[in-house]
Subunit: 241 residues, 2 copies
């Protein structure tokens, strides 16, 4: 049966999943397009698919809708032929390599950072409670499917960083004026790197917990790099040694 | 005199500068906010300022408008207190370090790439004719004022690359399957790096002109990086030797 009415109860439920509050209360989120749906399916968190044409064979619940309904559910300008409803991933704080994000606000930046963190072998991404929502549609798209390939943890950064320090994880953050060239860091088998907000950087109370300040050598003509670029270059350098 | 009417001839002219076609025919473009205006002024390309309050002292023509008019001229959600009208920069193909962009489409990516190119000492950015417009408002913002600190050249990439080859500039592009690790490139005093479109990469006819294919070492879990991130990591590695 193809659902054609915007008043349908299930359609209304799906549209509401576009708000963070409802996602959090339901512990579910939406994804757009075949690539993300396939990745979620492999990960075992795909609950249901929403399709315009019934030509997909995922072993899960299915909802067939009109293009108009799909347009209402998806936030994309051009709605996809398939969407998915996923269970939120469990939070885990594991491994030897941590990326800590203090109030990243731009969804494109967070998604790009996640993609790079997977590329450069980060184990867990730790986010302050006021970082942009991981399950925001723009974040999910910018990860290019990498969202499911890494662990996440959200919480009070001061407490989490102190716990990592107790486990002897060296804590790094960036400081252009008073830091060590990233190329001079030798042992990066185990680290936690703190990166901060696009405009204001890492809060002082968080930055003060770092053991070592580092910087990326660059031209004097340029004050700073985009935060996703800076994070990626640092993770690239730290993945390698 | 404060201009209050949207029908004012000059206001209509400024609004039209938000289209690429009109910018190209007038050889002028708009910038938002004090930081960009200051940078354009230093560079000597600031023609006129548009302000809500008359408390700026740039030595150039000035137009005082209401907040409503500013909102009409600027593409920002929150219109700035000051905008500028600038003369387009002259195109120049100079130096030893070139970044060649084949059909980059996302304005945020182009702006971020420009910012990184300044940071890592690129002399000239060369763009295919179908690359997103340099003077697009989102590009300008993403450069964070770095737009004025580098040279630009736009044209037919095949012809330009062949000219660079005649000058013995080594040409690089990326190839994950058949390339050399970027860390193994020794002499980067002189280079041209070709980067391509977000979805489809560099066109074959352009990529075939490269002398050396390079890649960024990364985890097998990740197929590729965001193009602004990949470009920045390569420029970072090549700036250093």
């Amino acid at each position: 049966m193809v659902i054609t009415s915007l008043d349908n109860k299930e359609v209304k439920y799906l549209v509401k999943l576009n708000t963070k509050k409802f996602r959090d209360s339901e512990h579910k989120f939406l994804i757009d397009g075949e690539h993300l749906v396939e990745e979620a399916y492999k990960k075992g968190i795909l609950d249901k698919i929403i399709v315009v044409d019934d030509n997909y064979s995922f072993n899960c619940d299915k909802l067939i809708v009109t293009k108009e309904i799909m347009k209402k559910i998806s936030l994309l300008d051009t709605p996809p032929n398939i969407m998915g409803v996923c269970k939120m991933m469990d939070e885990k704080l594991v491994g030897n390599k941590y990326l800590i994000l203090d109030r990243i606000q731009d969804p494109g930046n967070l998604g790009t950072i996640i993609r790079s963190a997977v590329a450069f072998n980060v184990d867990t991404i730790i986010m302050s409670n006021d970082t942009v929502d991981l399950y925001n549609s723009k974040v999910l798209r910018a990860t290019q499917g990498m969202i499911f390939s890494i662990n996440y943890y959200k919480g009070d950064l001061v407490k989490i960083i102190n716990d990592l320090k107790d486990k002897n994880i060296p804590i790094y953050t960036t400081n252009v004026n008073n830091g060590k060239n990233i190329k001079e860091i030798d042992d990066t088998s185990c680290y936690a790197l703190i990166m901060g907000n696009e405009g204001s950087g890492v809060r002082d109370e968080i930055a003060n917990l770092a053991d070592t300040n580092i910087y990326i050598p660059m031209s004097n003509s340029c004050e700073s790099l985009n935060v996703a670029v800076a994070t990626s270059i640092l993770l690239y350098e730290m993945s390698d040694k």
